[in-house]
Structures are given as structure tokens and as C-alpha cells.
Symmetry: C2
Subunit: 295 residues, 2 copies
């Protein structure tokens, strides 16, 4: 399949490389031309714009930052819609794999449909490690036939590929994932700090609790890194802050009270404010320690 | 081993029965004589007081309510200390398996040492199902030699028996467990409600997320019961409310900020206030639904 790929950063680059490795013809475009070089070296074709990709590919994928970036790629000058309209196409599938608000994804999808482009929202979890290994979890919202077309591409990048529902449903699932991982980190950090402050070895507590209902992959994986005081990302605090902001904006819009998510969001704000934005979001442990004067 | 058992409620009764099944000689005492009947029918000896148990057993175990109940059993009239002093013993081990504040457990242990009784705090997790199956997690604080003596008894009741550290350490581990399970229920409830409010099938979201870092036993087990709307206990909301109160009282005493635990505690307060105290603590989902007018 001829696939266009926009956004070749920490996540996008290994994802596009995995498409090449599985034998797909990949054309790439990135705002910074230097980002395209490693892909071209691996066999990709450089394009001059997202519009060019939309003119000649069956599937265009983007992996960029936040909603305004997706909107620019999809609907902006020299963007996907412009290219599809110029080529008079009505069969193009555009899959955005960035993490943005479900509402924004639905709005962009609706505007693309008017221009003959079918959009999938297909955010991922699993981080840079999962992107390199091709073991991401891909959560997809959008029409079934577009999903069927894009699925082989998603399966080059992810181990678990699930169509959750209609447009926006992938972003909703990703938001739920970020609630569970972000708040999961907060509560593991609170428990480990509680143990240490009470004079008990947090490692012994963690080991005992891994065997029961307190078990989570966050306690196992992130808890171990907290105890090793390894705050290297992984997944950066400012990115988790962004994702919880999205959750709470949507909750505000829907008039939902999510108190534990809200507490987590405040902690992520404070962690970024305390200079931990570029560290892993397990930095919530250090933040809580600082708040209690127990560094 | 001759074991005394005090407190034969939902948890204590099956725990004492498991001691009998493994061939221990068990004597029992309970405030309500009727509670002793099923144990006597199974081969236990009824005693007239906790003091009587302390006079003739190697190990006395209690499974009662909160700190005042433990204090009454340990230090009150006709209690463990009184019996041990009357019999001029200095080798008695007393293991309290109730969930109480670590500070309270340490204070009671210190007062018992003055009377020649060595106390272990040995709270459990796993609920009534684990108590019946003998598959509880037992988290123990106290001296190593007392732990060595009591361990065979604990292993009749629990699958995972861990000495966490010195006096109070078992209760600290249990408090951490209750943070992770209580707040874990809150965040799973928030995520599932978020999905439903956003028009997405929460079951599809849960399935997709079980494969990644969002995995927790709470998402798997309690999440399934939330979706089935099965709010039967399990573990009652008022008991989880009590346990988070303990966490936050200790946090206050240690001057620790635990924002996600605090949010969870408030939700548990509201759930009990809304008449859900006798239901399972997964009732937090129903509470959040009510708060959002989405029942």
C-alpha cells in the first residue's frame, strides 16, 4: 500500500520506519526537512507537502503534537483536504495517530467528510519503546471500511489494534488510558511516599502488594523505576499534563465531575511548574516528596 | 499449636475455620455467644473471655473492627494483657489481623510489651472470598521471632504471608493497599463514566486498555463488575471509607499531602452519605453518575 506519513518526531519516525520494514511504499513530509532524512535513507520518498501525499497515497497518517497541528495538516494550506480536492479524490483515508481531544477529532473529521476525506482517529499508547518495537496499542475511531483499509498499516506499528467505535472513540479510549496511567502514577507515588514517611521500606510494601488486588502494571513497572529513582522518560511529564488537560476540558464540556483525575491534573501542573516537565511523569513522586519536605 | 481466636464475623469466622481444618487446636471467644456456635460445631472450644485465651494459648489472634475494639481485646477488662499477667506468662504472642491505624497498632504493641505480650500487626487483604479460600494476603509488622511462631497459623489463612518490618509495618502496608485499591476504583469509575458520557462503549474501552499500561486487577475484576452493575459486596463502601480515613489521619499526623487519596476519601464519604455504605465500594461509579445526573 502507498502510505503518506506526516510528523517524524520521537514517535512518528520509528512508526514510519516500521511501515517501510513491512514492505509498504512510504512517502513522508515533515515541517523540518532534516526530519525526513533518516526516512529517505531507509527508502521513503520525500514529499513537498501533506497535500502532495493526499494526491497520490491510499492512506495518509499523521503523528504530530496537539489539535492545532492536526488541524493544520488536515485542513490548512497545502494540507490533506486541499490535496484531496485538487486531485478530485473521494477515496482517501486519513488516520491521525496524535493524541488530541475527542471533540477536536470529531470536528476535524466532520470538516474532512465535506471534502471527501474519511478520517480515523487512531491514537496510541506504549511510548517510544512501543513505537520502536512495533508493539503499540492502537485505539481507533471512525467508519468500519476506513478501518479495514488502514488496519494492515496499524498492525505494522501496533500489537493490539482495536476499533473502539465511531469518530472520536479512539481519542476517548486514549483519554481513558491517560486517566488510568496518570492517576495510576499519582496513587502509586502516594502509597510509596506514605510507606517511607511511616518508616517502612517501600520496596517491601510494593513486593507484598504486587500479589493482590493492588496489582497494576504501573505499580510493577513505574513503581520499580520510582524506587530506583530513575526519572528519565519514558513518557514526559508535560505530555501527561497535556493529556489530563484534555480529559478535564472534555469533562467540563460534558459537565462531569472527575475528582481523582482533577487531583492528578493539578499534580502534573505543579510538577511541570517545578521544572520536571522533561522528566518522566513518575516525577509525581519527587513532587509529592518536595511538597512534604521529604526530598 | 493451641490458638485463641477473638472476633468471629464475616472475616474471622472462615479464618478460624481454616485454622481448625489444618489441625490446630482452636479456642474462640466473641462478644456475641451465638457467633461461637459454628466454630464449636466445627471442633473449637468456647472460652469465657480473651483473658482465658491468653492464659492457655501459644498464640492469640483477633479479627475485630477498628482501633477501640482492638484496644479493648488487648488491654481492656478480661483482655489479653490481663490474662497474660494473671498467668504470669512472658511468651505470649498476640496477632491482631484487623485493619487499624499504624500509630494505634504501635501504641497498643508498646503497652502490651510492658505486660510481657509480644504483638504482631497482621492485617489482610482479599476480602471474604479470600478468607473462605484461605488465600488472603497477610502483611505483618513486629519482631521476627514472634512472626516465626505465628507464621504457620497465618499460612492456614493466607497465600502470601510477608513480614514487612517492625511493629506497625503491616498496617502501613495495608494502608498502602487501601490507597491503591480505593483510588484504583475511583479512577476506573472515572474512566468508564468518561467513556460512556462521551458516547463510547465502556466495555470496548476496557477491553482495549487491559492490554497496556492501564492494566490493573481493579480494571479487570472491579471494572467488569461495574459494567455488569453488580454492586453486591465484596468489600463494603463503609469499610473502604474507614480505611481511607485512617490513611488521611496518618497523612495529617505526618504532614503529607496525598491529593488523589484525599479525593478518593471524599468520594467514599459521599457514597456512604448517599446510602451506598453497605454496597461494594465500586459504588463510586454510581456516585459519580449521580453527581453528573447520568444515572
Amino acid at each position: 500500500m502507498e502510505i503518506g506519513f506526516v510528523g517524524l518526531g520521537i514517535m512518528g519516525r520509528p512508526m514510519a520506519l516500521n511501515l517501510l520494514k513491512q514492505g509498504h511504499a512510504v512517502s513522508v513530509w515533515a515541517r523540518r526537512p532534516a526530519s525526513m532524512e533518516p526516512l529517505v535513507a531507509a527508502g521513503a520518498t520525500a514529499a513537498a507537502s501533506a497535500a502532495e501525499l493526499a494526491q497520490r497515497c491510499e492512506l495518509v497518517i499523521s503523528m504530530v503534537g496537539d489539535a492545532p497541528d492536526v488541524e493544520a495538516v488536515a485542513l490548512g494550506a497545502q494540507g490533506v483536504a486541499e490535496g484531496a480536492v485538487a486531485a478530485d479524490r473521494s477515496d482517501l483515508v486519513y488516520a491521525d495517530m496524535s493524541t488530541i481531544a475527542p471533540t477536536a477529532a470529531r470536528e476535524i473529521a466532520a470538516r474532512l467528510v465535506e471534502r471527501g476525506v474519511t478520517m480515523l482517529d487512531a491514537p496510541v499508547s506504549g511510548g517510544e519503546v512501543g513505537a520502536i518495537a512495533g508493539s503499540l496499542t492502537v485505539m481507533v475511531g471512525g467508519p468500519q471500511n476506513a478501518f479495514d483499509l488502514a488496519r494492515p498499516a496499524f498492525e505494522c506499528m501496533g500489537k493490539t489494534v482495536t476499533r473502539i467505535g465511531e469518530s472520536g472513540a479512539g481519542q476517548v479510549a486514549k483519554a481513558c488510558n491517560q486517566i488510568l496511567t496518570g492517576a495510576g502514577i499519582a496513587i502509586v507515588a502516594e502509597a510509596l511516599l506514605f510507606a517511607r514517611a511511616a518508616g517502612v521500606d517501600p520496596e517491601r510494601v510494593r513486593e507484598a502488594l504486587l500479589g493482590g488486588f493492588a496489582y497494576s502494571r504501573i505499580l510493577e513497572n513505574h513503581g520499580e523505576r520510582m524506587l530506583a529513582r530513575n526519572f528519565k522518560p519514558g513518557f514526559k511529564t508535560w505530555m501527561h499534563q497535556k493529556d489530563l488537560r484534555i480529559v478535564l476540558e472534555e469533562a467540563n464540556r460534558m459537565a462531569l465531575a472527575l475528582p481523582a483525575s482533577a487531583a492528578t491534573s493539578q499534580l502534573l501542573n505543579a510538577a511541570v511548574g517545578s521544572g520536571m516537565g522533561e522528566d518522566d511523569s513518575i516525577s509525581l513522586l519527587r513532587l509529592l516528596e518536595q511538597m512534604a519536605g521529604r526530598t
